[in-house]
Symmetry: D2
Subunit: 389 residues, 4 copies
């Protein structure tokens, strides 16, 4: 068998704490065992704390893409106009779900190293009557950028538009709140900033979103894609529509508890500080950040333009094979253009960041690039002055 990596510092899933791993080794329970019911309930309550919300939360039992598809499938009716904000691969992909479920896409698009300008959203909404939904990716992981969802959501509210937010890798990286940010459906994943196992979609749903789902002509029920099924069963009767993923739920409950122990705001600030230090390190190495501007660079991964003369796959393969560090490449149409240094969850700490930058330096040099060894780490360390997390 191949050698396991020393550190998984990718775009998610990322390495989990040993506490999380041990918690996933808890005995498998029958889903109607009182202990499991209690645990599922506690996970739901913790999730509300992490989302800083009083809205209902729903934990769909499939990876976050299920939550995205379920949102489109549950809300859209044929002909619904959806303003889809596109600043990256994931934003663009949501269009497929819009159209699969009969919606009509109105696109507002920026280059994939840029972020959406809230004023452009306002202009578009003004200019395009009849828009019912707005969809946007909060943390555009493949581009390592973030969109200003708090401002966008408020504008959408002015226009009475329901806001659907892919915050799969955003939750925990920023201290969001559906109510404050004007989000009607938020979809997050446990395998990013929370450092949990993939396999679940974490949804927060506004009363308006529930109403929209229920008032559809044929509300989506009786399907793995149905969010309403969970309202009818778990939320109202504490029963399940089908068998939940017991072990993955153990992981979720564990990472949510850890997040609440740390404090959501503190956790977000920690991610921000590490991302900043990472950027300083990358720049000091003479590499170019993918994000067009500092303000839009994301707190969970840092995108780096693949430098001339080096092949992306070779770089990542070398890091993994020789130094045991797993990072991520570009995705979809960005493939080969950037690589991504992950700093989520437990890895958003100085020791892991410096390990990653150091191995990147060594790798660049191994591959023939002129590197002043230690300069990336040094700049990151400089930026970490005053670290207190």
């Amino acid at each position: 068998m191949k050698r396991w990596p020393e550190m998984t510092l990718a775009g998610g899933p990322v390495q989990a704490t040993e506490r999380t791993l041990r918690d996933m080794a808890r005995p498998i329970l029958y889903h109607y065992d009182p202990v499991f019911i209690e645990l599922f309930d506690r996970a739901s309550t913790l999730l509300k704390t992490v989302y800083r919300t009083k809205y209902d939360v729903v934990i769909l039992q499939g990876e976050a893409i299920l939550g995205l598809e379920a949102t489109a499938a549950g809300l859209l009716s044929p002909g619904d106009k959806v303003l889809n904000l596109v600043s990256g691969v994931f934003g663009k992909w949501f269009e497929l779900f819009i159209e699969k479920y009969g919606g009509e896409t109105v696109e507002l698009r920026v280059p994939y190293n840029e972020a959406i300008d809230p004023e452009a959203v306002r202009k578009k909404l003004k200019a395009t009557p009849g828009i019912r939904f707005l969809s946007v990716v909060h943390s555009e992981t493949p581009s390592a950028t973030v969109n200003p969802v708090a401002e966008i959501g408020k504008i959408a509210k002015e226009f009475g538009v329901l806001t659907l937010v892919d915050t799969v890798s955003g939750l925990g990286g920023e201290a969001l709140s559906p109510e404050e940010w004007g989000i009607d459906v938020a979809i997050a994943g446990p395998q990013k900033c929370l450092g949990g196992p993939p396999g679940l979609s974490l949804l927060a749903i506004s009363p308006e979103a529930w109403k929209a789902m229920e008032s559809k002509k044929n509300p989506l029920r009786g399907s793995f894609l149905s969010i309403l099924d969970w309202k009818d069963t778990w939320l109202e009767k504490k029963v399940f529509p089908y068998t939940p993923s017991v072990t993955t739920m153990y992981g979720l409950e564990s990472v949510l508890a850890q997040a609440v122990e740390e404090g959501v705001e503190r956790m977000a600030a920690r991610h921000g500080a590490i991302a900043r230090a990472c950027r300083r390190g990358v720049e000091a190495l003479g590499l170019k950040l993918w994000a067009a501007r500092e303000e839009i660079a994301g707190p969970v991964v840092t995108g780096v333009v693949v430098p001339e003369g080096i092949e992306d796959r070779a770089l990542r393969g070398h890091l993994r094979e020789r130094y045991g560090i797993m990072i991520s490449g570009g995705y979809g149409e960005l493939s080969g253009k950037l690589f991504r240094l992950g700093h989520m969850g437990m890895a958003a700490r100085p020791a892991y960041l410096c390990a990653q930058l150091a191995m990147l330096e060594r790798t660049l040099k191994d591959l023939g690039r002129d590197v002043h060894l230690g300069s990336g780490v040094g700049a990151a360390l400089e930026s970490l002055s005053g670290w207190s997390f």
Copy 2:
């Protein structure tokens, strides 16, 4: 927090071996880490061995109900006639998927303590022209019965009908084989006889089934419900359509390896011997088996008619609260009519069976029923004469 059960002897999920639990505590990997690719590949190969098949296998990343819905969604076109064999709650439920995806149901139904007669299937197929698919539940867990799928599948083949088999709790309990039994799509779960975590659908797919999916007018692609997406990605290119459930896959790989080490035939025989002993124990206690006949009683759970004067929930609650044994009740319309003693996976061994029967005896007596204590265990022990697994 409530006390964890001593033993989970339910209708699934069931208790896992300590090896399985430890394997699920393996570090979370990025899904494109070479070690994870290797592990996913190995799990697929092991799954073929357990299915005793050369057909393609697909591991959908959601609980078995996803596999059932995906099968209907991927194969049925509006107007397709489906002969749905109903011998229990799960068989009946499949009708919902048939109709959600435009199929037309032709039902062949028997009482829920009975099994389908293959000859009746032949007669029905003869009498009803234009049937394209046949759907049947192999192990009808809520009724604790099995249908003779091997014979049914062969008959279906005679008529050129594609056979869709829910063997969620069947795989491992009997030594099936899609090729030998005439199955075109088999759907199993890891959380039953294999003793793994819930959260996956294990599919075996015949070439004819692939062809049927691909030749639909609008083949289902770009959806969490799509089986074809896995053909286009994993099977053909070793990439994933979305992030798989890493930890749950660790569990699957582990239980499949354990099954192959034991041997599939041997494992099935072990389940059969324990189920037989369980029935002898139940009868000796003066209780009535739910299954109408010995030959159709299932190897994975034993259904017992709730005896007069005892309330089902009280019985199960007492067993769980006082003796730490978690069993299952009836399901859906069978709720309150029977309770189910699980004997799957690691629990399909004499020590666990006797512990379960003993605690059932004590519970019945605690609840006021006249029981000759030890008689159930004694009859089971008698039946276990010659045990050699």
Copy 3:
């Protein structure tokens, strides 16, 4: 590799809860890490609660036999008279330590299926001037009997004799207290009723015992056998005399926490009730208990006379190989004369007891003995009427 047992129901070590196992997988810490210091401290405090004592406790980093030897080595001076009460193999063995460290043994001995009579102790103390120490085994595991230490200790106190008690398998099985029982040095192990890993000696030490150690001519210091080293280091300065067994300490802390959560008295009562039920089951099978009288039969293992016509090793081997149940045989000079059914820790619960008795029944029958199958379990179940732990 050989197959792991289903259940370890031996004379100790015994099977651990899954919580205990997970806790032992905590990351290995440097022993001066603040988290480890905190954990060692917490374990010490919990140990006092479990011992129901205000005396100092010392956790020697070697299996309980280390604690026994260290007690002799630390207290005895050449010529010291020690009244050694012998009711079994372990009691007799302590004589070796007495003599190795220069003591002079005065023996009070009963047959190995009997217990010491407190009045005989009083008589012996009266008749033998100059006795300085009294040594006694509380729970004589190889004989599955207990001595009335509470009464013996009080008598020793009357005579100003220091009492050294081997309660390796006693702690947790009865709710003892050094102060109330008149014990000066108690030595217990984590691998018996507490259900932890072997590898530690758990000592409670009276002020008088400390004084005796310190006032020896050459107090034992600077040795793995030294108890005083722990007073000089850990108790007084929170440093260690050498590197403690980190992982084993994790196990100890875990099982102590679990014992305190359950409650020591409740835990002891639970062991008592299960032992009683076990004896009823054994008798109903026509087997003979090893203990001469009900009152002296121990709460942690049940000794059973090997029945005529059956070879002890064959019986235990069959149970282990065929049914996955590991029990214990006789020990030392009792080898081949009795076998022992363990019911300690998590196994001291009805489900495990009945599993064990059932497999014993089946084994006896497999080996040719005439057994009314179910009768042992039945009698145990009868005895468990009103179980409420």
Copy 4:
């Protein structure tokens, strides 16, 4: 509870691989369970491979200091002359055991940042008739230095002197061999280069050493300190003198298997390369290595002179509290004079070394020292050119 460290990079115990941690969560077995016997046997065989020896190995069930004391206790007779080579705290401490067990110490001592010169040993042996044993510490962990045991052992052989070697932290860091190096008793620990749990002494014993133990006037038997007890029981009859530390043995078996999979020579070379890189990093930071010369600096920890103006405890406390890195201070009389960067086991890899150096840099700067951030990491990276482990 305090926060767990991110990385334990101390002088041992050190952090374990996740595989090791999981293996220690294996169910606790009765020590006479066939699976445990098999595992203990396998561990013994693996230990021989790691020791590269055909000598008997003995696994004493207590931390390495037990092995050291047992060696003195088992071999020395009153009046025996022992040439004790002292190049550090641990070497000096062995004198206590020599004298406790009646030996007469002949000391050859060098400053604690130096190593023993083999020629000085030869001279001493020539000049001092009647020396029976020579004792030496291979890897003097508190000084982070190594002695040239291979040469010393050969000289001792010339003089017919039995050589006792404390290689507690040496095994795995260099590819030693008792036969080739002329060692009669080697004592190692699992918690250093092997990355296992503390709590065991790993001994390799030459036929001459056995003979010396057995031919003593009163061979040491019947004691926790006895090595001969293990010869009489485990080596000859596959029984145990007392209950072994089951969980710790799981850890040992696991780390030995991992070492053999990597290859002992390769593992040693890896430790050497990392130690070298560490020294280059330390020097680049303007810090002074404790070891007087490059050739005697050890492969498992790097000792660094505490720089003026910085308090050792403050430095280590800051590293641990703020950056989650646990390192070690000086020990005994070296306390406060040096601190030690550990790089043993899984931590002997570039990513962990660079993380450690980076956090050290940041800490030095936080505490007011002028540091060119990144320079230490840079020099280490330079040294790691061509890394291929």
